[in-house]
Amino acid sequence: MALDPVKLELVWTRLISAVDEAAKAIVRTSFSTLSNEANDFACVLTDAQGRSLAQNTGSIPSFIGTLPATVRAICARVAPAEMRAGDIYITNNPWIGTGHLNDVCLVRPVFHGGRIVAFGATTSHVPDIGGRIRSTEARELFEEGFHIPPMRLLREGVADATLITLLRTNIRTPDQTEGDIWAQAAAVTLIGDRVVATLEDHGLADLTEVGDEIFDRSEIAMRERLRSIPDGTYRHAFETDGLDRPFHLQVAITAKDGDVLVDFAGSSPQQPRSVNCPFTYTRAMSWFVLKAMLLPELPSNDGIFRPIRIAAPEGSIVNPKEPASVGGRAATGHYVPVLIFGALAEALPDKVRAAPGSPLWMMSIAGRDAADQPFASTLFFNGGTGAGAAQDGVDSISWPSNISATPVEIAERTAPVLIHRKISRPGSGGTGRHAGGRGHETEVESEVDNMAAVFVTERMKFPAPGLFGGGAGAMGEVLIDGKPANTRQQQVLDRGTRVILRTPGGGGYGEPA
């Protein structure tokens, strides 16, 4: 039976449901709250060439297209002819993986009829990977944790004991991190089982024909949508908080009859701090926002991104060279979609949004509690989103990532802190025909001496700008005992010290009425 639009839909739906099922398995078993509460993981199915056929539905933007690239990178090192059924490959190399060491990626070839027909791949943020904890001060990758180059984790179902021993020895939470890796191994195995069942049920020998058809159709659809951008080059640039000096981010988007080149040339050089954003993450963020604007309804797959080329000069902050430190990649990468909104505002005024009060904020604390037990905890904070042509921005919501804030009751039960207030900031959304979303204010008091606090904050110097006459959102502020704090340095909090964090508001859209 030829691949008609019905059969294609049936097979594709089965494949997507296979990765969704694997995703649920990871959520339920993982130790990392980032995986199980923030969906900071992804499951992907590629064809035998490593082209993405299905990605789990809730997968956050940072992983779009990263795992297929991981599959291809693994295949470039291990010839598929050498692979056997029951093998699983592993890496957390940021350039091959997702952009930082905490995301461990697993890849498993799927055999059917004696040959590889697909790859199941997962990535998950493990509870700990060694190195300095959430410090943005790392100057090189070596400080950021245990680095697993692309290698074999399982040979025909048997684990590499040396690798496991090395890994366990180099991290703080060996049982939990190893547990999470086995949860992922179960998930990629599940994907393989489901793929084989789908092929059998539909009488298919492999996924080539299904894949080609989906990719070609998706490419055509995306090209059609991209043609809504009139031919031409669109530029945008802005400054971000940076370190001692602001960083400069810049994009030029050239559209020509359905082909688009997104070029970040002119952006700041890479930094000796972990604010560098590996190209794989930059590309994921670019793809995410173009798809969200133009083809949100279609499940993510390789074909959608064929008409889009992303370029960034090697050695820049959006394409750093190994071994740059990259742990805080999101603090740079979350600006990428905003840069693209800015560039395309004239061409697609109804699709873009004013700038949000992101990147994501974090406050990581560590020390010893009243019973002299060690604790470490990370609190997340979100600003408001930018307004659009038809509606206001949203108050305090994660964007472009999707990370929940820790509930106050949980935060207070897991670390010696007292949270006095968590309340929306009145007037923090940019004014406009549609107003930006508001940020919020949280006041955290330390209940012990010598609490080390490390912050990730943005938009404390440059607010989220509005669009088409809309006002900027309020800037973020961090005060320690009432005084503005330097959030680029570790702070030590004593008992009774109070930290006020005010997240930024989103920009407004259009002249206020």
Binding site: P5, G179, P296, D395
Partner: protein, 688 residues
């Protein structure tokens, strides 16, 4: 001794009533239109008619069991009471800020669900209790009074109280609730810890607020219904179905009506199990109607339960777009696939079905009411499954030409034939249900092929055969005219009380007496509720602990042996650890990592004795002549024998392709199926 049972199920369109006589194993039932302005009227009318028809006396009724969607609808339509929320000072935006997550990642226009309480009624009260129970700031009674006054001045009729850490230390909430009850008797008051004693302020607050939102309405409605039933000289107690399939009495339902939100679907799941009978211990209940399909798992008569769900999802069926409700409820998979689901060509030329629905107005194209989009019902008509002259008991003649025109437009846009499009719609929509079922079962470590599919609703028997084939299910049961099945399901439920409390410490940090006391306290509380309703006799308690490995984000329910437990610490630790390891292995198919066990919540489920409800013997009519019709099943067309269900006697058996028609639905048996009419009146389909 009054012996009859009356079941009343209010749905969006119909109110179903069943009157059952266990002594004579007979029952009568009827449907009346739901009287939305005053739902009690429909109930009274139906009850009077039912009594009249059966010739029974009101005084013979010993039990009235009721389920209703009224409170869920109030949430969905935002038609509950004007509600205020009083929080710890500094936290009045808890409901507005929510989880800070988007439920749909690619939707740049996304708007989160609006809180049930408007900003001006979200008020703060100075007070603060720390996680360890230390009072940091005393409850300011004057400020509380002022806030309540402000709520009343703002028009509030009901108020929820949400203080931080009240799951562990409820004293401030309790005192605040007592004060308000005393000083402002006109206010309905819900303190969060009285509804759900779980950690996480947003989820607890959302649940408490939903309760406050429906409480005034529930209070009035249930009081009036009890009174009117008494007026009919029915002296029996009114029992209410809970979302978890248990029963409770009016007082408890008025106190915490949020527990009733999913009572309708719970009754449906119980009914499916009951109708299938005890010979089918593991069933997958499949109910397909006009806009949605619902699937639920019932094993040995017990529906599978979850300890939290979302109400009033605004983006239909998308997780995260509704209000979190932390109460126990039947675990229901609901997807946007029904007879009215619209088929279309998507952005890349593939066939998609739903979740948009043509509803009943204009409805499918074949209804001839102006609908032009092809729907699942149109496809089923063109596949030969439906008889255009007998749909909905012949009350709605179907327009085949209109269905063909709609189907042709779709087929043309996809470049396929009309038949391929019609079969494609049936196939794609059934695949969506199969996908949901597969994932749901796999998550619980189960395999679909061991289950029996029980099909109800207008669409269940039409899609059941193909769904079973996709899932590898070999047996399918179709109860006779499942029209009032849910109302019947009500009569099979036991009284039930669920209670939960935060534990929040590692297993090893608990002494045996402490743990025993924690569960015993919940049991005492639950028992008081059962006693109040007069069903404490023969009650049995189930102890469940929500547990996880330390550091794991998600926890899972672990069923523990009934108490009292060993008083020795080591013995109890070993007992719980063993149960945890077994549950972990069953669920995740691997032993837990070597990490300490964390106890999150204690749960107690107290069940009263189940009322014996034997099914009435089926009535069978005379065999009538059967015709035949061409149908397309399994992608192949062939002639199918048509059977009139009313005319089939027990023992009748035939092979597919076949159609068995009754007023509300048509059973489709494909070429690989064989069906048999059982003594119970059920049809069993075995699939080769």
């Amino acid at each position: 001794m009054p012996s009859l049972s009356l079941g009343i199920d209010i749905g969006g369109t119909f109110t179903d009533l069943v009157l059952h006589d266990p002594a004579h194993i007979s029952s009568g039932s009827l449907k009346v239109l739901t009287t939305h302005a005053d739902p009690v009227l429909g109930i009274l009318e139906g009850t009077k008619r039912l009594l009249g028809e059966s010739g029974a006396n009101a005084a013979e009724i010993g039990r009235v069991v009721h389920a209703t969607t009224l409170f869920t609808n109030a949430l969905i339509e935002r038609k509950g009471a004007r509600t205020a929320l009083l929080t710890t000072e500094g936290f009045s935006d808890i409901l507005q800020i929510g989880r800070e997550r988007r439920y749909e990642l690619y939707d740049l226009q996304l708007t989160p669900p609006a809180p049930l309480v408007p900003a001006k009624l979200r008020l703060e009260v100075p007070e603060r209790v720390k996680a360890d129970g230390t009072v940091l700031r005393a409850l300011d009674m004057e400020a509380l009074d002022a806030a309540a006054q402000q709520a009343i001045d703002g028009g509030a009729e009901s108020v929820a109280i949400l203080f931080l850490h009240s799951d562990l230390h409820p004293e401030h909430e309790r005192r605040a609730a007592e004060r308000l009850a005393e000083k402002f008797p006109q206010l309905s008051v819900t303190a969060s810890h009285t509804i759900v004693r779980e950690v996480r302020e947003y989820e607890r607050g959302s649940t408490a607020t939903a309760n406050a939102y429906v409480a005034p309405m529930a209070g009035r409605y249930l009081a009036r219904l009890s009174g009117e039933l008494a007026g009919l000289r029915i002296d029996a107690p009114l029992l209410l179905m809970l979302s978890n399939g248990g029963l409770t009495h009016v007082e408890e339902a008025q106190r915490a009506p949020v527990q009733l939100l999913e009572s309708g679907p719970a009754a449906g799941a119980l009914a499916a199990a009951h109708l299938a009978g005890p010979s089918e211990p593991r069933i997958l209940a499949f109910d397909m109607g006009g806009t949605t399909a619902k699937l639920s798992v019932v094993e040995h008569g017990e529906p599978e339960i979850v300890f939290g769900f979302e109400a009033a999802r605004q983006a239909r069926f998308i997780e995260g777009s509704g209000l979190p409700i932390r109460i126990s409820a039947v675990d229901l998979m609901e997807i946007g696939a029904g007879g009215g689901s619209i088929a279309r060509r998507d952005a890349i030329g593939l066939l998609k079905v739903g979740p948009d629905s043509a509803g009943s107005e204009p409805g499918p194209a074949c209804y001839g009411r102006g609908g032009t989009a092809p729907t699942v019902t149109d496809a089923n008509l063109l596949l030969g499954y439906l008889d255009p002259t007998r749909f909905a008991g012949g009350s709605l003649p179907l327009d085949r030409a209109a269905a063909e025109a709609a189907m042709d437009r779709l087929a043309q846009s996809l470049g396929i034939t009309r038949d391929a499009a019609a079969w494609g719609i049936h196939d794609v929509v059934t695949e969506a249900m199969a996908g949901a079922a597969r994932t749901h079962l796999a998550e619980r470590g189960r395999d679909a092929s061991g289950f029996t599919l029980v099909c109800t609703g207008g669409g269940g028997p039409v899609h059941g055969y193909h769904l079973a084939r996709k899932l590898g299910i070999k047996r399918m049961v179709i109860p006779p005219e499942a029209g009032v099945a849910s109302a019947f399901g009500l009569l099979t439920a036991p009284p039930r009380v669920d209670r939960v409390a935060t534990l929040g410490r590692r297993l090893m940090a608990w002494s045996a007496p402490e743990l025993e006391a924690a569960f015993a306290a919940l049991e005492a509380d639950a028992k008081a509720v059962l006693e109040r309703g007069g069903f404490a006799e023969g009650a049995s308690s189930e102890r469940i602990v929500d547990a996880r490995c330390v550091g794991q984000g998600a926890h899972m329910p672990v069923i523990l042996p009934p108490g009292p437990w060993p008083a020795d610490d080591d013995a109890l630790h070993a007992l719980i650890a063993t149960a945890f390891q077994a549950a972990y292995l069953a669920r995740f198919r691997r032993p837990p990592p070597n990490v300490p066990i964390d106890l999150v919540h204690a749960r107690v489920v107290l069940r009263g004795a189940k009322a014996a409800t034997e099914l009435a013997a089926a009535r069978f009519g005379e065999t009538t002549g059967a015709g035949e019709r061409e149908i397309l099943a399994d992608g192949i067309s062939g002639m199918a024998r048509i059977h009139d269900r009313d005319g089939l006697r027990p023992g009748f058996t035939a092979s597919g392709p076949a159609l068995v028609e009754e007023a509300g639905s048509t059973l489709v048996v494909g070429p690989k199926g064989r069906f048999t009419v059982l003594d119970s009146g059920n049809i069993l389909v075995e699939i080769g």
